[in-house]
Each structure stands twice: as structure tokens, then as C-alpha cells.
């Protein structure tokens, strides 16, 4: 991340509430955390999971229940995040034993099982109706204060994740993605590090989930459904798995496009599907790759002009 990207990020966060309604921009930031953390697994370590909604949803439920019981938010968020962490160790332990299609199927299977529990355990989760009646704590009850709160947590999470990715641990993740047998040969316990990657991704996703509860003061059951896991993967890929902030672009793009298209055409999922297919076929780097190419072309064009002017003189 260079100075330009950090500047753009800051500008986005400052301009955000003016570009989008409060509910939308906060949701974008929260899913931004989810997508960027999922990318630690997907882009950096090369693990495609269809189970991220499990952690997002479970953490949201835990956070919601703690708030409903009357405890402060400063207890709810850490406990829910810790809960995500512990569950990720359990789920991850089984999932990382396998890779590729099996890994996908395992994460999917766990997601389905947690969804089922959420669906059936209505006394706790509200079942299909979701968990409602949660109140936002007073200090973040205005649009402005809520946004500031979410942005601070957003930037903090991003900072932490960035530090992890740029540390030697991040390099190990990349190595595992590029060449797992070589990593094993050098002496790294690939399974262990995959579990670490899985846990980090899931814990931050859980953190985001614990915040989601506050947007609409409820936890709808669709946040733990496997299609939500699919959405998360789509957002991550759409933005670009090749760089750190790419997934955030994907989240903003996806939410904005889905809200815009849904007003225009009832068959808008078709458009999203086509975009998805095109990205997978031609633009594996996602939108961020497109933007990077655009920037390079612009720089080249301006540099050419500058050079020409220099030569003329």
C-alpha cells in the first residue's frame, strides 16, 4: 500500500457518508472487513471457502444476544470475536485436512449445519424471523457517531490485517498458495499455517459480524446462509484478490451495483452473474486490476506528453 492508495482510502472514508446513505456505507465498511479478511485466505493463501457466512452470522448472533442481555457493546464485540476465533479453530481443524474441492465441500457442509442450528434453535436465534429487538447503545445512536465508530474499527482492523500480511507470516501464506509441496519441504507445517490463515480470516469476519448487528438492530437469518458465503466470495473476487484493498472495491461495487440495478430491472442477478463470469474469465485480478491498468495507461500517456514537451524545449 503506497501513499496514493492510503490517500484514496482516507478520501473514501471521508466522502463516504455523503455518497451513500448511512445504512449502506456502514454496511460497505463492515463487509469491507469481511472481504479483506476472506482475501487473506483466498488471495494470499489460496483457500476458497464457501463458509464465511458461518462466522459472520454466528458472531452477529452472539453479539446480538449479549446486547439483548443488557451488556455493553464493549463486551459484546470482543466476546463475539473470541467466539468466532474458537469456532474457527474447531471448524478449521477439520477443513484444512483437505484441500481444493473437498475443502470447499467441508466449509459448505459446516455452513449448512450452522444454518440449520440457527434455523431450528428459535428460542435463541429467532429462527427464520431472525434476532430482533436489539438496541444500539446511546453513544452511537446518531448517524454521525455510528459512522465514526464503524470507521475507527474498520481502519483498526485493516491496520492489523495489513501488519499480519506484510509480516513473515504473510510470506508463508503466499508460499503455501504458490507451492505447497515446497513449503512442506522447507519445513513449514502447511496444515498448521493454513489453519492460522483460516482462523485469522474467520476471526476478523466474526468481528465484522458482531458490528453488523448494530446497523439495523437485528440479525436476519440470511446472513448465515451459504448464498451469503457465495456473495462474500463474489465481492472479494470482483474487487480483486491480488492486492490488499482490492476486496473493498469489490464490496462497494457489489452493494452499489445491486442496489442500483435492483431498481432498474427485476432480473438484476443476471447482470451480476454476467459480470462475475467476465471477471472469472478475463479479469482474474478483479476491478483493482482494471484500475491498475488504467492508472498505468494514464501515467504512460502523461509521461509521454511530458517527455515530448521536454524534447521540444
Amino acid at each position: 500500500m503506497n501513499k496514493y492508495t492510503i490517500t484514496c482510502l482516507i478520501i473514501f472514508i471521508l466522502l463516504g457518508p455523503f455518497l451513500f446513505p448511512n445504512a449502506t456505507i456502514t454496511e460497505m465498511l463492515i463487509f469491507g472487513i469481511v472481504a479483506i479478511s476472506t482475501n487473506i485466505m483466498l488471495g494470499y493463501t489460496g483457500m476458497l471457502s464457501f463458509g464465511q457466512a458461518l462466522f459472520f452470522g454466528t458472531s452477529a448472533y452472539i453479539s446480538g444476544l449479549i446486547l439483548l442481555a443488557g451488556f455493553p457493546i464493549f463486551l459484546a464485540i470482543p466476546i463475539a470475536t473470541l467466539g468466532s476465533f474458537l469456532i474457527s479453530l474447531f471448524v478449521g481443524y477439520f477443513c484444512v485436512k483437505r484441500e481444493g474441492l473437498y475443502f470447499i465441500c467441508l466449509t459448505f457442509a459446516f455452513n449448512q449445519m450452522f444454518y440449520f442450528i440457527a434455523y431450528v434453535w428459535t428460542e435463541v436465534t429467532g429462527g427464520e424471523d431472525g434476532l430482533v429487538g436489539i438496541t444500539r447503545p446511546e453513544f452511537i445512536d446518531t448517524q454521525f457517531s455510528f459512522y465514526v465508530f464503524i470507521s475507527i474499527l474498520f481502519l483498526t482492523s485493516l491496520y492489523l490485517m495489513y501488519k499480519i500480511i506484510t509480516s513473515p507470516l504473510g510470506l508463508i501464506f503466499k508460499l503455501i498458495r504458490e507451492n505447497p509441496s515446497r513449503a512442506e519441504a522447507i519445513g513449514y507445517n502447511v496444515r498448521f499455517f493454513k489453519l492460522v490463515s483460516f482462523s485469522i480470516a474467520s476471526t476478523f469476519t466474526g468481528l465484522a459480524g458482531s458490528l453488523y448487528v448494530l446497523i439495523h438492530s437485528m440479525v436476519p437469518i440470511d446472513q448465515i446462509h451459504w448464498l451469503k458465503s457465495g456473495d462474500i466470495i463474489f465481492m472479494t473476487l470482483f474487487g480483486g484478490v491480488g492486492n490488499f484493498l482490492g476486496p473493498l472495491i469489490g464490496v462497494v461495487g457489489y452493494i452499489w451495483l445491486s442496489d442500483t440495478f435492483s431498481i432498474i430491472w427485476a432480473r438484476w442477478p443476471l447482470i451480476m452473474g454476467v459480470i462475475f463470469a467476465i471477471i472469472v474469465l478475463y479479469f482474474r485480478g478483479g476491478v483493482s486490476e482494471l484500475l491498475e491498468n488504467l492508472v498505468k495507461k494514464c501515467q504512460f500517456y502523461f509521461k509521454k506528453n511530458k517527455d515530448e514537451k521536454y524534447i521540444k524545449n
Partner: protein
């Protein structure tokens, strides 16, 4: 009580045969092309929708069952040649996601063409109604379905074991590179395999329509079950897919008796346990 258990066995068998057909199709594609076909569900749905339209236009159910899987094969060819082919060298994940995107697109196209409301497709009068088997009364159509699906599977088995193309397909599952080395045009093999998988999915969809009706989301609904079948069977095993399909059908039937709310989740539990404790599946080849 015997009435109940017998009916459940038949119910499970009926469902199981459908699952077996889609499962075999999926495992063929997975085995030969090594691609997880996330569009398998919509091919199943298209089979049902084509059958509905053909039956409506021609008035013949039998003709619909005959023609509709062939149309699905054409769709399969289109998908394979235009999309999947470009992704042979790509990572597993991208193939999967491309097919998933195609599934979403085709589902929306189904809604555009046929509308979002579900339909019924009736079995013809010759297959309607129930048969009195003495110990129990059971719908004629389901009995015929079990026999017909079984017959198709026997045909498939003969095709795979007795014909040259079948041998090539089986070889492709076991060792794709060797097949290339032997000079066989792998692209054609892949195309036909995908087509065959699509055929089985489309056939299963068409056959399921009189029982379960048609709805645009039927593709997305059956997709997880296809993968459960394949994983429990063991990737690349065709007899495994048949056994696994029937097993899953029977488990759902059993769950309905004793724990009806869990009919859906019981299969995911089975899949999870298989992956953890017997990762190669019941009949795994690799």
C-alpha cells in the same frame, strides 16, 4: 408398520435414483475434466423446463422425456466449448466460480423465458394414478421412474464398459495425461463427457418434474445434493455415485420418519463425516 417401511424404502429408492443420475453425471465431469460443475443444478432444471415446454407443445410426455435431455446436451456443449475450455489451465477455483456464475445467469434466463411462477408437469394418463400392490398402494409413476432410471444406468454401464468411447472416458478418469499421450483428441473427449453429464442431469430433471414440479430455483436447490452424492461416493466412481445416490435418498426417507426437521441437514452431516473419516469416499478411485 410394514406398509410404512416398505413405502419409505420405495420413496427413498425413487429419490435415490434421481440423485444417482445427477450424481453420475457430475462425477463423470469431475473425473474426466477434473472440473467441479457448479452448473450441474441448472442443467437439471433446464431438463425439467424443456420437458415442460415440449410436453405442452406436442402433448406427448414420452417425447418430452426423450427430447429434453438432448437439448440440455446442446446447452452443455455450449457451456463447455465457450467457457469451460478457456479455463482448463486455470485454477480449480476459477472453473468452479465460472460455472457458478453461469448457474446464476441460466437461472435468471429461466425466469425470463418461463416466468418466476412454478409449474406442474403431469405424467401421462398411462403413468398416472396408484397401483395396488396388495401390501401397499403406491403411485404408478414413481415405480416406473425407479425402473426406468435403473434401466438408463444399465445402459450407461454398458456404454462405459462395452464401447470404445466409454473406454476412453474411463481411461480419462483414471489418467488424463496418458490419454493425451495416446494421441486421443482430449478436447473432443471433454466435450462429449460434459455433454453426457449434462444429459444425465437433464434427464433426471425431466423425470423429477411430475413428482416435484418445476420452479426456477430447483437448480440451486439440487446443487448441494449433487456434490454430497459425489463426495460420499468418491470422486470419479460411477458405481459409487449410484450407491451414494440411493443411500442419500434412503437416509432422507428415514429422517422423515424419525426426525423430519433434519431431512436436509442429515445429508450434510453424512458428507462432512465422509470427508473427515473416509476422504476417498465409499468407492473412491483416487
Amino acid at each position: 408398520m410394514t406398509f410404512l417401511i416398505l413405502s419409505q424404502i420405495l420413496n427413498g429408492l425413487g429419490l435415490g435414483m434421481l440423485y444417482a443420475l445427477v450424481g453420475v453425471g457430475l462425477t463423470l465431469i469431475l473425473g474426466v475434466l477434473n472440473i467441479p460443475n457448479f452448473a450441474h443444478g441448472v442443467l437439471y432444471a433446464l431438463g425439467a423446463y424443456f420437458a415442460y415446454s415440449i410436453a405442452k407443445m406436442t402433448g406427448s410426455f414420452y417425447f418430452a422425456i426423450f427430447l429434453s435431455p438432448l437439448l440440455v446436451v446442446l446447452v452443455g456443449f455450449l457451456l463447455e466449448s465457450q467457457g469451460v475450455r478457456r479455463l482448463y489451465q486455470a485454477h480449480h477455483d476459477y472453473q468452479l466460480l465460472f460455472l457458478f456464475a453461469c448457474a446464476l445467469i441460466i437461472q435468471e434466463i429461466i425466469i425470463i423465458i418461463w416466468g418466476p411462477i412454478g409449474f406442474s408437469l403431469l405424467p401421462p394418463p398411462s403413468l398416472s394414478g396408484a397401483l395396488d400392490l396388495g401390501i401397499l398402494i403406491y403411485p404408478k409413476y414413481r415405480l416406473v421412474l425407479i425402473c426406468f432410471a435403473f434401466f438408463m444406468i444399465i445402459c450407461l454401464y454398458l456404454f462405459l464398459t462395452k464401447t470404445n468411447l466409454g473406454a476412453i472416458l474411463r481411461a480419462g478418469i483414471e489418467n488424463r495425461d496418458m490419454v493425451k499421450v495416446l494421441g486421443i483428441n482430449v478436447n473432443i473427449v471433454f466435450l462429449y463427457t460434459f455433454g453426457l453429464g449434462a444429459y444425465l442431469a437433464g434427464l433426471a430433471g425431466a423425470l423429477s418434474a411430475p413428482i416435484m414440479g418445476l420452479t426456477p430455483s430447483m437448480g440451486l436447490d439440487i446443487l448441494p445434493i449433487c456434490f454430497v452424492v459425489v463426495v460420499i461416493a468418491g470422486l470419479g466412481s460411477i458405481p459409487g455415485a449410484i450407491v451414494a445416490g440411493i443411500l442419500i435418498g434412503l437416509s432422507q426417507g428415514a429422517a422423515t420418519i424419525w426426525f423430519p426437521e433434519a431431512t436436509n441437514v442429515v445429508i450434510y452431516l453424512m458428507m462432512g463425516l465422509t470427508i473427515i473419516f473416509r476422504p476417498q469416499g465409499l468407492f473412491g478411485v483416487r
